[in-house]
Symmetry: C2
Subunit: 349 residues, 2 copies
């Protein structure tokens, strides 16, 4: 007899980064921001209507705030439940041809998961020996292009001219530039949107805006692309952004001064940290993100990863070709990084 | 020259119920709860870690609270961004055959939207002349079954024996019982989960728990089905439940007394309202939900709908075959419903 078992979708589950329940660890493994969000984030649960009513459709107030902030029209902005939601919806909407989409061999680990889920064919051109994008690899027939800039987990930023060449050479494809880490260095592709109608730029509140716990991401592109994205989204779930996210997201956008000072602190700490571990035998790729990608000249990355974990310092290790001798270390506070340096000094000696 | 336009997915956008920006209206058009959520919902944004860190994976604390509340294992509970997210993920996961899925001709208006989006074939057996489900219509080959109980927008509850017959006669299909309104009347299918491994029950916090603004829904079923659902979800977006939703959802579950008294109030107001409009020429279908589905013996529903809107009373009208002479009126507070009755008395005279 047949059962329902034959009729359900089977997916190889994605394995996300480790989240510990211990609260006494130095947690530098998921690129969270060590500082809290803007103090403008206020009490709001006293108002019962805040919770009992459906959020406004399309999170319009947050969309308007983002449009004003970036100097685009509200019809050019799409918001979602973290940039993962925005990217997944973008894959589903924009990568609907039979041709393979292109993304680098070393990149954000969710791209191939979405391609598999939505049955989108894909190819992964290799980064060069310095982990740089080879733009010519993207000058062939394809069903779409996506890459992060700065790239993850390398932290390397590709100059805007390089990004523009890829967009310009692919008028028949949507090109998604995933700028999750752009606020920590590098130059945004946003101004190119006025010039190229095939460009979508994706951002998140989880890193530079210290709001990983709220799940807010957004995309900016031309009105036609954003409309297609919204049409797919409304066919899926009309109300994904909850009221706390909309309200607190707007407050974050309003507090530019806090935002800038928060970023400055992290960029300074990153510089200090890279300088501090260099004498210990570490080489860091040039980082434009809130993490560094570091390798040691004699001790295997995996060993350091495991020793650090025992010392309650969580960093990220990828057991994958080409990068399995690197550690991705998120930038915490100066105090946290001092503890990491102290640990490394003792451990390596 | 080809452009990206040929390669993107085009979807007929779903048109959701009207959300007004006016705050001085009586809003009875989207089945929200007129009372706020439990007072246990506390201040939490003072703690910066609440917002800066990623939520725990799989919203495990909320899952555990729900499992304990319903007397099932945590591995039998799946949570999502409102029951729309849970249902959409369930369609994607469980309705993966080439056979048509079955749901009533008059039912929740998102079912056919998801079927279209995911390219799932479907058939819509007609409810009988009293808007009751004809169980024999579901005793044929199919790729899955879904229906709300109580049904929307009729409010009619089908006895559990009827539901069980459908589940029992379909061992080769997953049967989803969408219990968005079950707390306002009727008997839950949850106990049948121990007996039938093809049953999934879906619930929401948006109605009886007054938390539409937070977007929390969940599914309960056997461990194998819930695992398949989680595998698909993790391939899509690992962190969809934000920290406020998890925390405030748990607080709601803990406050059973408030939950019960809130429901009692709405059920009493519903009874009062039905009695009050009967002498005015209205007939209401027997409602087990937080709304009534009402028709008038002489005035077309559409005219009443428009007149009410002018009087700043928002109710829902569906311009669809068989139900285009009905109004769906959410149950507000006694005071709000008194205002509605007063308006109807004046208008109908």
């Amino acid at each position: 007899m047949t059962t329902w078992r034959e009729n359900i979708r089977r997916v190889e589950p994605y394995v996300p980064g480790e989240q510990t329940k211990d609260t006494d660890v130095i947690k530098l493994n998921t690129n969270e921001n060590p500082y809290g969000p803007s103090k403008r984030v206020k009490e709001f649960v006293d108002n019962p209507d805040m919770l009992r009513l459906y959020p406004e459709l399309g999170a319009s107030k947050l969309v308007n705030a983002l449009a004003e902030y970036h100097g685009v029209k509200p019809t050019q902005v799409f918001v979602g439940v973290g940039s993962d939601d925005v990217l997944a919806m973008s894959f589903l909407t924009f990568f609907n041809s039979d041709k393979p989409i292109l993304f680098p061999d070393i990149t954000y680990s969710f791209y191939d998961v979405w391609a598999e889920l939505f049955k989108i064919p894909y190819e992964r051109p290799a980064l060069d020996e310095n982990f740089r994008l080879v733009k010519e690899d993207y000058y062939k027939e394809n069903g779409g292009i996506v890459f992060p800039n700065p790239n993850a987990p390398t932290g390397i930023f590709e100059p805007l001219a390089q990004v523009e060449d890829i967009i310009k050479n692919n008028p028949a494809s949507v090109v998604i530039v995933d700028e999750a880490y752009i606020d920590f260095g590098g130059e945004t592709a946003l101004p190119l949107i006025a010039q190229y109608d095939n460009l979508v730029v994706v951002r998140t509140f989880s890193k530079s805006r210290s709001m990983a716990g709220l799940r807010i991401g957004y995309a900016i592109g031309n009105e036609e692309l954003i409309k297609a994205l919204n049409d797919v989204k409304y066919s899926y779930n009309s109300y994904t952004m909850n009221r706390p996210s909309i309200l607190l997201g707007i407050e974050s956008i309003k507090d530019e001064e806090y935002f800038r000072s928060n970023i400055d602190k992290i960029v300074n700490t990153r510089k200090r940290f890279v300088e501090a571990i260099k004498p210990l035998g570490f080489t860091c790729l040039p980082s434009s993100a809130n993490f560094v990608f570091a390798t040691h000249n004699s001790i295997p990355a995996k060993e350091i990863f495991e020793a650090a974990k025992k010392a309650k310092i969580y960093v990220r290790y990828f057991d994958m070709p080409r990068i399995n001798n690197y550690l991705r270390i998120s930038i915490g506070t100066d105090e946290e990084m001092d503890t990491v340096v102290k640990f490394l000094k003792t451990y390596i000696k």
